[in-house]
């Protein structure tokens, strides 16, 4: 049967469904929630629900405790009291009973007549919901049924609805869908009484949601030991009212998928109308519900492959569309024409967990809107166990990994790769999919693909370190080069030591590397060598080099642990007897902050237990310490603490902060003189309105990097996400060695770069698994570069002239002149010193060293007379043109 006929048959079969709330006032809707924190991970082995707790807790500040939910896909039969066969073949109906007395009526009307029930039970809960601190509203009782539709019912349904020509499993799915719709319509009318609703009804998956934070759902329904391949969670931030039931909380369901959403789209009515034309009616009145209804429509009714579904949701636009191959263009054009009204418009990011029943695969999907208005981070870790993660914040990914590591050290605390998707793009399509597939040995593998189905694989195949095995202590003499390092340690500079060590690393195994690091760590016992040890280990953490048989993520974990242990060994600020140049402070001792005494110089501040913001925040501690006279800070064990470096006020020259761990949003915002070094990736909104000083990031940076910046000298080793340097004025001077997702330097107003104005150097490079520089195909793939800019310049390394005028909206490509080179040279030299990215390599094209003007190009502002002069002059020019 043709797809078209199937679609028509299913849509027609819904003709008689009574529409839900026909006239919905915007007032009645929950769509204002907008904000949220979303997280999810997919793993090749089933892992327990407790690991969704950690990232959820980490993202409390993205919700307000008025709604949380989780979904699990790929469950384990033992925990559910059913056989594997039942688990895989039955639909799991999970019904939330807001009013328990409705149970008999509900079963009599919607369960017993239609289903043969293989197993049923109430979902187990803790005895008293008040035992979970912070949970204020009693979560609903949830009853779970493993069901198949009775054959005679299915037969009748098929006949009555005109679906006979569909395969039985498709008819059964449609029956489940319509039955749940009817149940919700009758027992949960959004504007009327609310007694019960369907939480989930797909195969091998389930959803639970509560009024509270997401992790409380896991705790209340005792999921700490419940195992699944895929988990997703959502912290909700409804702005409306007193919420007494979790009907509006995410995840929402299609059939075999659960969707969580961060954002808020503007065309809810248009999308609802599009659905209505296809006899699909939302009942829960949130934009999340309609999103997943669109997904289900495209997936199950229209039978689109995932790629086309993603295209319908987040259409490819602008220059990206032109880059598509012709055959894709043709299809995409059709998809866009047919489904643009069902395409959510506005800021959104979806995480979908689904059971692809036909293929027997579980999938975790992250899709960003075309303009990338919401934060999103993907991560992949491979090894004995394989995991893919999607999150609103990178720090929540690290929190998940740490939680997993504690239980099963085969998981590393660091992922092999972290990246962002480029919305609606030709390069990755703005979506990534983690698929859990069965392998030949009865186990599972994890595969990551982009929208186009191209596999995203980590390059390093080296075996990661198994941290569960205690390393044996090796004799120093046995390790190649170690004695030499020891001999020269005191005399040589950090850089010399670094250059001495890195060539040796490929010759070492994990035990040897561990021993070397331990030995170096030993030098830190001497106060006068402590700084050098920290510098050296930090260099090893920051820089890229060949790691031989060692997996980079394992090395990073070893180094982070080593550094943390040195930091933690620093005498406490409360320890009055000890002398020395450093003092340690943490959440417990924060109140003992005092001015530095004697030789004391460095404050080793452990961020780990501080709340991310507020009066007790870590950032506040640092600004208080600065006010007391501290100027040198080593801040470590960050777990997303925000605003580091903020609040110190003007003129902070001479202050230096080194930040380790998963630093948080708004780091270095508004700084005026100080230096901040971020040893790892930065999160979102770094360097807002930065005025002066220096920011160095040994990794990537997130959304709206340096928005409204006025100045500062900034070096980024990796990429920037969306909207870097938007609305910057003054004289920011920035080197981005990677690239940016899109909208780089929009409305840039940084004057004349040759006359004290600002600029960005964009190198468009990355590193391969051996630590070698590799240049991207194009230094900047986005469709918008330097749009509406009225000043400043971008100097882009583009020897193959890949940047085209179509990418510029208001900017122009100009010749790269000698004075441009003289302008950027000092910054490239510093870039070389910081990251080891040599000018020689930057000027090398196809193995040949070229002149700077053959390699770099200048993008400058077009003088728009309309904007520069008076209206009168503009008119005159207009007339002249006529």
């Amino acid at each position: 049967m043709r797809m078209k006929e199937i679609a028509k048959a299913i849509i027609d079969s819904r003709k008689d469904l009574p529409p839900g709330a026909a006239h919905i006032n915007r007032y009645d809707m929950d769509i204002e929630e907008g904000g949220c924190g979303v997280t999810g991970f997919a793993c090749n082995i089933p892992v327990s629900g407790r690991h969704i707790i950690e990232p959820s807790v980490q993202m409390h500040n993205r919700g307000n405790g008025k709604g949380g939910g989780i979904a699990a896909v790929g469950l384990t039969p033992e925990k559910l009291g059913v056989s594997r066969e039942v688990l895989e073949n039955d639909f799991i109906l999970q019904i939330a009973l807001l009013d328990k007395s409705v149970l008999n009526e509900m079963e009599a009307r919607f369960i017993r007549p239609y289903f043969s029930v293989d197993h049923e039970a109430f979902v187990e809960t803790v005895e008293d919901y008040r035992d979970i601190s912070g949970l204020e509203v009693k979560p609903p009782d949830v009853k779970r049924y493993f069901v198949r539709v009775k054959p005679e019912v299915l037969d009748r349904f098929g006949r009555e609805k005109g679906l006979q020509r569909l395969s039985l499993d498709k008819i059964e799915e449609e029956f489940i869908y319509q039955n749940s719709y009817n149940l919700n319509l009758n027992l949960y009318s959004a504007l009327g009484e609310k007694k019960a609703f369907v939480l989930s009804h797909g195969k091998n998956m389930m959803i639970l949601k509560i009024v509270g934070y997401a992790e409380m759902a896991a705790m209340y329904y005792k999921l700490e030991n419940f195992e699944a391949h895929i988990w997703i969670a959502h912290q909700r931030y409804p702005t409306k009212g007193r919420v007494w039931h979790p009907g509006g909380a995410h995840p929402f369901i299609g059939l075999n998928e659960a969707l969580v959403h961060n954002g808020d789209f503007a065309n809810y009515h248009s999308v609802s109308e599009y659905l209505k034309q296809r006899h699909v009616y939302p009942l829960f009145l949130t934009d999340t519900e309609v999103s997943v209804l669109v997904f289900d429509l495209l997936n199950r009714v229209y039978g689109y492959p995932l790629e086309y579904i993603i295209e319908a949701l987040a259409p490819t636009g602008e220059l990206d569309f032109d880059h598509l191959p012709d055959e894709k263009k043709e299809i995409y054009r059709q998809i866009q024409a047919a489904h643009i009204h069902g395409s959510p418009d506005g800021p959104w990011f979806f995480i979908i967990a689904r059971n692809d029943v036909k293929k027997g695969e579980f999938q975790l999907i992250g899709i960003t809107d075309t303009s990338m208005l919401r934060p999103q981070v993907f991560a992949l870790q491979k090894g004995d166990v394989e995991i893919g993660l999607i999150c609103s914040e990178k720090q929540a990914i690290d929190a998940t990994l740490e939680s997993l590591f504690k239980e099963d050290p085969r998981f590393g605390k660091v992922a092999d790769m972290y990246w962002n998707a480029r919305g609606g793009s030709y390069s990755d399509g703005g979506a990534f999919v983690f698929t859990v597939k069965k392998d030949r040995n009865g186990g599972h593998t994890l595969e990551c693909t982009d929208k186009f189905g191209r596999i995203k694989e980590i390059e390093q195949k080296e075996k990661p370190l198994d941290f569960s095995v205690k390393p044996s202590v090796l004799k120093r003499e046995k390790i190649r080069g170690l004695n030499e390092i020891i001999d020269i340690f005191e005399e040589n500079s950090t850089y010399e030591l670094f250059r001495g060590i890195t060539p040796l690393i490929p010759t070492w195994n994990y035990e040897e590397f561990q021993t070397v690091i331990d030995t170096i760590k030993g030098f830190a016992e001497k106060d006068q060598l402590k700084e050098k040890v920290i510098e050296l280990l930090t260099l090893l953490l920051d820089m890229r080099y060949h790691t031989g048989a060692l997996r980079r993520r394992s090395i990073l974990q070893i180094l982070t642990d080593a550094l943390d242990s040195i930091f933690l060994k620093t005498p406490s600020i409360e320890d009055m007897s000890s002398t020395g140049y450093g003092k340690g402070i943490n959440f417990e001792t924060r109140k003992s902050i005092r001015p530095p005494r004697g030789e004391e110089q460095v404050l080793f501040a452990d961020a780990s237990r501080f709340p991310p913001e507020g009066d007790e925040s870590f950032a506040r501690l640092i600004s208080d310490a600065y006010a007391l006279g501290w100027k040198r800070f080593i801040c470590f064990r960050h777990r997303g603490q925000r605003f580091l470096g903020c609040g110190l006020g003007p003129d902070t020259k001479g202050v230096r902060i080194d930040a380790y761990g998963s630093t948080g949003d708004y780091l270095a915002s508004g700084i005026d003189g100080m230096e901040i070094y971020v040893h790892g990736n930065g999160q979102d909104q770094l360097g807002q309105i930065i005025k002066a000083g220096k920011l160095v990031v040994y990794g990537d940076v997130g959304q709206t990097f340096m928005y409204g910046a006025k100045g500062g000298e900034v070096y980024v080793m990796g990429n920037a996400a969306g909207r870097p340097l938007i609305n910057a004025v003054g004289r920011p001077r920035v080197v981005i060695n990677g690239t940016a997702l899109d909208f780089l330097a929009e409305s840039f107003m940084a004057g004349d770069p040759h006359n004290n104005g600002g600029f960005v150097v964009l190198n468009g490079l990355t590193f391969d698994s051996k630590g070698k520089i590799v240049f991207y195909d194009t230094p900047y793939p986005g469709s918008n570069l330097f749009s509406l800019a009225s000043g400043g310049a971008i100097f882009v390394r583009d020897p193959y002239k890949k940047i085209v005028p179509e990418q510029l909206n208001g900017g122009q490509i100009m010749p790269f002149e000698e004075r441009d080179w003289q302008l950027i040279l000092p910054y490239l030299k510093e870039n070389e010193r910081l990251f080891g990215i040599t000018i020689e390599e930057l000027l090398t094209v196809d193995g040949v060293q070229r002149e700077p003007y053959d390699v770099y190009r200048t993008i400058g502002a077009v003088k728009l007379s309309m904007l520069a002069g008076t209206a009168l002059i503009a008119n005159e020019e207009w007339e002249e043109e006529l």
Binding site: R620, G647, I671, V729, L864
Partner: protein, 506 residues
């Protein structure tokens, strides 16, 4: 200076005459050559219209003349002039003055209040405009007689700005108004300083707008609200640390969904320095905060400012979309102390007409919508609502409060006090004939700081008197009692004008 109720004393009204030789008024008087300079008219006129002159008296203050109604008075100069040399007629300039929203009557009465600090006596309508909508359709209904024992003492016009009980300082302003954001660049430094100094004298606040924090403002830090707007121009840690209130401007009611633009013309060296931009090159403020696309982003944004200044209050200025009530609740939960609703009637000439008149929800609908919703949510008493966007008179202010606001925020009224004639050429550098909305040094010299400050003080002292009068007639002790008292208002769509016994009677 923190104005506690006990220590605060309102500044004195001092006469601040028009800075032009002939102030614009409703009536015009001419003395022709028949005059024998007997000086009778000078003696007669109780309004001081005439001044002694060498050849004949000068009707220098004819803007104070009450016009033809004077005929019944024994001191009517036209009739009493022994030589019949005085002629009185309606000033032709007055007839073309103003527009429906800001009628000639309103402009002239605002000038009058700014000059004298008292209610105009010339028979001008100083309470409503002629817009056929908005506040002009609302009327107070005063009880004919207040019940026995109604309060008769001092009336309190002060309001609290921090009601959240979050440990941040309480800030009390003695009048329920503060002055809204007009950036340096869009107005001259003298205009800006006049407003700030007046705000300081009145114990209230004035917002910097999005153009930086000129050094001249530093002495008045305690009365400055600094703005964090979408362009982030001129925003620095030290400016945020300096003030007691920080305002986030998400949108402007006059042009929601649109950004700001400062054309190259207005970007003078000083403006450029302040905004750290380049002279002569146009500046854009985007319409959204690029870092804020949802409520949790907003919370983070507020947290950031709170981190920089642990004592500041946070105001969130939003326009009035249909779901403004949700926005207000969201702001409260994100930690805002003030939600500032900016309706669609305001805006200087720099806001495009198409936006000014067609986008946001009328403020008189937005205020009660938010007020009611916050009550339902049980949080109304923990957040302050400030309304703005087309508040022109003391009566507008009182109506906004009766609709559910705690106080109001003013902009255009101040400029009118400085003799703005509402010519709508604010966007171009040398467009402002009155030297108010300009950064051109020559033009801005037209305004003197002392004069400007006093004019604004006078205006709001006069407003306060009117507010007290309204409250007294309603039998209220404090302006806080008026909040949300819709029952004191009627809408002329539902009641005939003639049937309303209330504000327009006197």
């Amino acid at each position: 200076m923190v104005c506690s109720e006990d220590s605060f004393v309102f500044p004195k009204v001092e006469r601040a005459r028009s800075r032009f030789k002939n102030a614009l008024g409703k009536f015009k008087i001419i003395i022709d050559k028949r005059c024998n300079n007997c000086g009778l008219c000078i003696e007669l006129c109780p309004f001081g219209v005439f001044k002694k002159g060498a050849k004949r008296p000068k009707p220098q203050n004819d803007h104070l003349c009450i016009g033809f109604v004077c005929r019944k008075n024994p001191y009517h100069c036209v009739d009493r002039c022994p030589k019949g040399a005085i002629s009185l007629f309606v000033n032709p300039s007055f007839e073309i003055l103003g527009d429906r929203r800001w009628t000639g009557d309103l402009l002239v009465s605002t000038w009058h209040m700014a000059e004298t600090g008292s209610i105009p006596h010339q028979g001008l309508n100083y309470k409503t405009g002629d817009s056929r909508g908005g506040f002009d359709k609302l009327r107070f209904v005063f009880p004919e007689k207040l019940p026995e024992g109604t309060y008769n003492g001092e009336i309190d016009t002060a309001i609290e700005l921090n009601r959240s009980n979050d440990g941040r300082p309480n800030v009390r302003i003695p009048i329920p108004l503060y002055l809204g954001g007009m950036s340096f660049g869009s107005v001259s430094i003298t205009t800006m300083l006049s407003r700030v100094k007046a705000a300081a004298a009145l114990g209230t606040f004035c917002c910097t707008g999005e153009g930086g924090y000129p050094e001249e403002l530093i002495p008045y830090d305690d009365h400055v609200i600094t703005q964090v707007a979408t362009g982030l121009f001129g925003v620095r840690e030290e400016t945020i640390k300096r003030v007691r209130i920080v305002e986030f401007k998400y949108a402007q009611g006059a042009k929601p969904g649109l950004g700001g633009h400062l054309l190259g013309d207005k970007v003078t060296p000083r403006v450029a320095r302040m905004r750290e931009a380049v002279v002569g090159s146009a500046l854009f403020s985007p319409f959204p905060f690029h870092s804020v696309y949802s409520v949790e982003d907003h919370k983070k944004h507020v947290d950031w400012i709170k981190e920089i200044n642990p004592r500041a209050l946070v105001s969130v200025k939003v326009s009035t979309p249909t779901d403004v009530d949700m926005v207000a609740v969201g702001s409260y939960y994100a930690g805002a102390h003030i939600v500032h609703l900016d309706g669609s009637y305001g805006g200087t000439g720099a806001a495009p007409d198409i936006a000014k008149k067609n986008i946001a929800m009328p403020i008189e609908y937005a205020i009660p919508k938010v007020h009611k919703f916050l009550i339902e949510e049980g949080i109304r008493d923990r957040i302050t609502i400030i309304a703005s966007g087309g508040i022109r008179t003391a009566y507008d202010m009182a109506k906004a409060i009766a609709l559910g606001a705690d106080g109001v925020c003013l902009g255009t009224a101040d400029l009118v006090a400085l003799e703005c004639i509402r010519c709508h050429h604010c966007e171009s550098g040398r467009g402002c004939a009155r030297g108010i909305a300009t950064t051109d040094p020559e033009l801005s010299n037209l305004v003197e700081l002392k004069w400007g400050t006093q004019r604004i003080i006078n205006l709001y002292i006069a407003w306060r008197e009117q507010l007290i009068d309204i409250l007294r007639r309603l039998g209220m002790k404090s302006v806080t009692e008026l909040v949300g008292r819709y029952d004191t208002l009627v809408h002329l769509d539902y009641v005939k004008k003639e049937e309303v016994r209330g504000e327009m009677e006197d």
